[in-house]
Amino acid sequence: MAHEYELSIGPIHPALKEPIMIRVKVEGEEIVDVDVIASQNHRGIEWLGMNRNNAIQSIYLAERVCGICNFCHPSCLVMAVEEIADIEVPERAQYIRVIQGELERIHSHLLWAGVAAHELGFDTLLHYVWMVREKVMDVLELVNGNRVTKSIIMYGGVRRDIKEEHVEHIRKMLDYYRNAFSKLAKFFLEDKTMEKRTREIGILTERDAIELAAVGPTARASGIKKDVRQDFPYFAYPDFDIHAITPDELTGYTVGDVYDRIVVRLLEVKQSIDIIEEALNEMPSGEIIAEKKLVKLMAKIKASEGEAVARYEAPRGEDIHYVKLKKGFEPLYSWKVRAPTYINILSWRPMLVGYQIADIPIIAASIDPCMSCTNRIAVVKDGKERIFTSDYFHELSVKKTRRLMK
């Protein structure tokens, strides 16, 4: 009988740059068992968000839940607050939000594609993809004033309009990506080594995906037609004809492996290009924010009461924010973030078992994990180590719910 031993990938490992730990039991090269130990790092960002001076400050904190999804999280929070405070968002602002969201999807998916290539030891492709990605980063800098953090969303609209002279640049970028798409597809899908490393690797069956409630490209690559933009459209998305992308559109069949996840993300970049194009053509003129006077806006949020859940299709999957506001209470009374990675991590187990050690990095990367969105349990070292069990947390959350209900 082969000797079994345990390898821990992470919390510090060159393949996963973020703090998460995968304990794998291996028999030779084959993986026989997987355990994921999340939350190696706790930032307490929700608690911070509830302890600001006012709700506006929380937007910028939400922006920093994750550096890549710096539009998804604040817009999800903003949508929830808008629902509670009953703020009507002008139509032009909704279109600008759609454009910003899709720009972010392009840059996030391209970033992921580069990382995936690096996990396979294909550094030339990493550098090529990130070179291509610079184009959208340049446009983001042009439109928003900064490459990464956009700081554009505000309760009731957006903070900056897309200028007429910028539209031309965006259109040029779209043409550039249309041309680059065929090349990217060739490098990722036709290269023999890439195919060998991704085809039939890390298969997540449709049944597993449904049972583990996978979201975003991870679920869609397994053949589940699930996309918040299609099922529960927000912003200006009802005006667009959006459908959930599954890999069989390009390849003709669905396997649910890493290759399919690459296909889905590539096709989504193409979809985003079309959405931005359409949004630019049909963008109505008008106001970009419902309430220009921020002092008035803050007063309005202070005066409203209620709770709401907002859903947003982030590049990585469905993002959910729960917000509760209380009358006379300026900051958010309660704020809960459920980032897409938190759900998708569960699908690592069926994906990994039965494959080889060599496949761990690409399979782990194939869900586009973002650990910074995922911190949950704190292990407090107080002279001695204390580990909070799930029962303890359940008890705590019951208490908190009771307190909120009062």
Partner: protein
């Protein structure tokens, strides 16, 4: 083709590198000495990528002291608590070391005393030197 990257490799090999070699092609031995040399005119710095739109760009904050009325609204909205109120003068002091360049204070300022500049090379060895404190 089995390995489509080959063609791209050969093309890229004879092309200028895509990277902008800022501040120098190879990292200097001592950054501080290099910057001193640049100031003296002994060494040349490779310019960073140009700012695409000076109007929308969010760089180091600019503060118009005379316009400021000391309403403290900027202090209320600043997400990173980078702004301090000077009680006796009724003016503000901004610590760029804490600033996250969101320009929220610009939006809320009733007299437009604050605006975003274009300077972004703000690395320094001290958080509170003259360049990083605006007042």
């Amino acid at each position: 083709m089995m390995f489509p990257m080959f063609k791209q490799l050969i093309v890229q090999m004879f092309r200028k590198p895509f990277t902008n070699p800022f501040p120098a092609k190879y990292a200097p031995k001592s950054m501080k000495k290099f910057m001193e040399d640049v100031e003296k005119g002994k060494a040349k710095i490779n310019p960073p990528v140009e700012i695409p739109d000076e109007e929308t760009f969010r760089g180091r904050i600019l503060y118009d002291r005379d316009k400021c009325i000391g309403c403290q609204l900027c202090i209320k909205v600043c997400p990173s608590k980078a702004i301090e109120f000077k009680k006796e003068e009724k003016k503000i002091r901004i610590y760029i070391g804490r600033c996250i360049f969101c320009s929220q204070c610009n939006d809320i300022c009733p007299t437009n005393a604050l605006s975003m500049g274009n300077e972004f090379l703000l690395a320094s060895d001290s958080k509170v030197n003259d360049e990083l404190v605006v007042e």
